[in-house]
């Protein structure tokens, strides 16, 4: 009996050894080839520009991995920049699934140990840990997305960045409004059935600003529209987001958008044949018949800004807001199969008006709070832990979002939106 097992085991080992041996040889030759490629790329870029990236190392800390649309958006943009600047794989270290706790700090420190000169972190909860890492490692640049502290923290190597994505959301809302209009005109729904749904992650300014601007975009086209919002209390939960979308659809919402990071909601919409507006990903492959359009923060311009400044040894913005003009706020390709006729032209027109300042997303004449126009609002811009408003943000007839600080602070509950 023992002999039999011994024979089986040794045969298994032999197989495995053979397989692994063969693999080893293959790998060596390919990795050599890769290295050569990397080198030649670096040479060409240094020839092109006066900045040398050869000694630079870049770290990225992500809360989740590629399966999260939010994190994937960061990862893909960094890979784009990597290719553009001709950086080798050894120069770009991506750490995924890093929690919003001590592991964020140790990961940042490990990246410093590995020789990273500039380190990006993508999740709101990473901020305090990144701040600490920045204070302990003054020679390394730390860039934290969605954070609220850098503008007044006074730590020279600690930076925040975000984008005026509310403008992108507004545009996506316009596309959704055009679709609603088409549905009303074709008799598919009546004007008083124009109710849309929104799956939000947390009842937090970043999300509130997002759904409000989206709603205002839709209402710019369809004045009768109302919206229901439901929260999953998680940034990434496929099952919860799916359920939330189905709940909204059951409630009679005829179009869904979301600010949560899985593909749960768009997939549910495709199943039910309900048009969907996404965030940060092109969902056309998931919902060929329902994915309408998607707004996205393109992080590439910010990566380039920070990486280039670091390479040159120059200081850069403590707090940076990307806009349509910087290429940071984008609308991903419109799905012609779903979009209403004339949407593209309308979007171009509105985009132009936003860029010239002719149209303000949070124009106070376009919304009310408890039946009244909002003439003054103190927003919690300084984020000093007291959670009280400190900055008047309504000036010249509109709410100045992402101007005093990149991270959104529009957290007003406007009329027409119902929280479930």
């Amino acid at each position: 009996m023992k002999k039999l097992i011994a024979v089986i085991l040794s045969v298994a080992m032999l197989f495995a050894l053979a397989a692994c041996g063969a693999g080893t040889i293959d790998k060596e030759s390919t990795s050599e080839a890769n290295e050569n490629e990397g080198k030649s790329e670096i040479v060409t870029t240094t020839a092109q520009s006066d900045v040398s990236y050869a000694d630079l190392k870049i770290g990225l800390i992500c809360l989740h991995d590629e399966n999260s649309t939010y994190d994937n958006n960061f990862i893909m943009a960094l890979k784009e920049v990597q290719a553009e600047l001709g950086l080798s794989d050894d120069q770009v270290l991506i750490k995924t699934n890093i929690g919003e706790d001590d592991s964020c700090l140790t990961t940042a420190e490990e990246l410093v140990d590995e020789g990273c000169n500039v380190i990006f972190a993508d999740s709101f909860g990473h901020e305090t840990y990144i701040m600490q890492a920045a204070q302990e490692n003054p020679d390394v640049q730390f860039c934290h997305a969605t954070g609220t502290h850098a503008h007044n923290a006074g730590i020279p190597n600690f930076h925040n960045a975000f984008a005026s994505i509310y403008e992108g959301r507004f545009l996506a809302g316009v596309a959704a409004g055009m679709k609603l209009n088409e549905m009303i005109q074709s008799g598919k729904i009546t004007a008083d059935q124009a109710k849309i749904g929104y799956v939000g992650a947390f009842p937090y300014a970043e999300v509130k600003s997002g759904y409000t601007s989206f709603f205002l975009g839709v209402r710019y086209i369809v004045p009768e529209v109302t919206m229901e919002v439901t929260f999953t209390n998680s940034w990434f939960d496929i099952a919860l987001e799916r359920e939330a979308a189905l709940k909204l659809i059951n409630n009679g919402c005829v179009l869904i958008s979301q600010h949560a990071d899985s593909e749960g909601a768009p997939k549910a919409c495709e199943e039910k044949g309900v048009p969907n507006v996404a965030y940060n990903i092109n969902t056309a492959s998931i919902g060929p018949n329902t994915a309408l359009v998607s707004s996205r923060i393109n992080w590439a311009p910010y990566y380039k800004l920070a990486i280039e400044a670091t390479a040159k040894g120059k200081s850069f913005d403590a707090d940076w807001t990307g806009t349509i003009a910087t290429g940071s706020v984008e609308l991903l390709e419109l799905n012609d199969k779903v979009a209403a006729e004339g949407t593209k032209e309308k979007l171009d027109e509105i985009k132009n008006r936003i860029e010239t300042g002719d149209l303000r997303v949070y124009d106070i004449t376009t919304f009310t709070v408890k039946g009244k126009q909002l003439d003054s609002y103190l927003a919690d811009v300084d984020d000093d832990g007291t959670f009280t408003g400190d900055k008047e943000v309504i000036i010249d007839g509109y709410f100045h979002e992402s101007e005093f600080r990149s991270a959104p602070y529009f957290d007003v509950q406007i009329d027409g939106i119902t929280i479930l």
């Binding site: 009996m1 085991l9 692994c20």
Partner: protein, 369 residues
């Protein structure tokens, strides 16, 4: 199809029999072989899926724990926490009390610490604050462990379901507390008292995790002695083997259940304290990070022997840290690393079968039954 083919009974070629015992070196030889085989299977998967050199991948895995001084200390810290929670669940499991609630007990213990750290952090001296947090966490853990134990002892409720549900209550309580403390709705506490460091366990010899590590080291020794040499430890084993026997020889089973769960909960609470005060200085739903469940595996693998648990928790932590390392190094999704971890642990657990049982060829001459 419900009809059964009667008459013909198929005689299996092999049958399984319990081994009486195995010489220690043979058992370890089998364990060693199973680890090697698991690495070979992983190698096949690595090569076929990613075309990477498995030796390089394993090298990177080792670097995840031993690559730098910092990584080594981080590994020790993770090991200490997992070991601490494993020590916590051990007495209960040895007693065959299926405590699936370590996650919640740790979380609630941590929450109790955070209440003090956040609410009175800057108002009382740090030493008193830390001691109060420690006491609060242990008490919190005890309460969370005691509730299902009392129900089990008094009314015979199912402790697996009960402890499992207690986890969700703890998660909701933490969410609720954060919602109140952070009215902006972000559900993120961030570092608490980062300016004053009130309620933070201090560095020892310049190492921020050393207090955690030493605490758990001492606890491991104490638990070893408690289970092996104390009367309580003996009672736990007897209750675990057979409640009837325990009752027959005059052990108060209810008392043992409640007493043991108090101990289990207390150590979970201590883990919560170490996580809040010594490691993260924040709280979130993910404080225990699944370790409450991983600990069960660690404890069983070590056959409830606290000293062996150092090894089994090391294996788990080593694999976890290695997983993160290879994901970054080779630009792979962490899922691949999880698959490898799964395979290795599968083999390690699976080999215990061959240590405890033998497969024998069925003698066809005899009536098989």
């Amino acid at each position: 199809m419900s009809s059964n083919s009667s008459g013909k009974t198929h005689e299996p070629l092999f049958h399984i029999a319990k081994r009486n015992s195995m010489v220690w070196w043979k058992a370890w030889l089998i364990r060693g072989i199973s680890v090697i085989v698991s690495l070979l299977v992983c190698a096949v998967i690595i090569v076929s899926l990613t075309h990477q050199n498995p030796l390089e991948v394993y090298g990177a895995m080792i670097k995840g724990s031993f690559g730098t001084n910092r990584k080594f200390w981080t590994m020790l810290q993770s090991l200490a926490i997992l070991l601490c929670i494993s020590l916590a669940v051990t007495p209960a499991f040895k007693m065959k009390f299926w405590n699936l609630g370590a996650e919640g007990q740790v979380l609630f213990g941590g929450l109790c610490s955070m209440v003090l750290m956040f609410m009175v952090g800057d108002r009382i001296p740090n030493v008193i604050l830390i001691l109060a947090m420690l006491a609060a966490s242990i008490l919190g853990g005890i309460i969370w462990g005691l509730i299902p134990a009392v129900f089990k002892a008094k009314w015979g409720t199912n402790e697996s379901l009960f402890t499992l549900m207690m986890n969700y209550i703890a998660i909701q309580l933490v969410s609720f507390a954060i919602m109140i403390w952070v009215p902006s709705g972000s559900s993120v506490m961030g570092l608490v008292n980062s300016g004053t460091k009130a309620g933070w366990l201090p560095d020892l010899f310049g190492q921020k995790y050393l207090i955690n590590i030493l605490t758990v080291a001492v606890l491991t020794a104490v638990m070893f002695v408690y289970l092996k040499y104390s009367k309580h430890g003996y009672e736990i084993s007897v209750v675990g083997e057979s409640e009837s026997t325990a009752r027959y020889i005059g052990i108060d089973v209810k008392k043992v259940i409640i007493r043991t769960m108090i101990l289990s909960g207390a150590i979970c609470g201590l883990s919560g304290f170490l996580l809040v005060s010594g490691t993260n200085h924040t709280i979130s739903k993910e404080l225990a990070g699944g370790n409450g469940f991983t600990a069960i595996m660690v404890s069983w693998l070590a056959k409830f022997n606290p000293v062996m648990m150092i090894l089994t928790s090391f294996i788990v932590v080593f694999l976890q840290r290695g997983a993160g390392e290879i994901a970054t190094k080779f630009n792979l999704n962490t899922s691949l690393a999880d698959i490898l971890t799964g395979i290795i642990i599968f083999f390690i657990i699976g080999c215990e079968f061959f240590i405890n049982y033998k497969i024998m060829r069925t003698n066809s001459g005899k009536e098989g039954k």
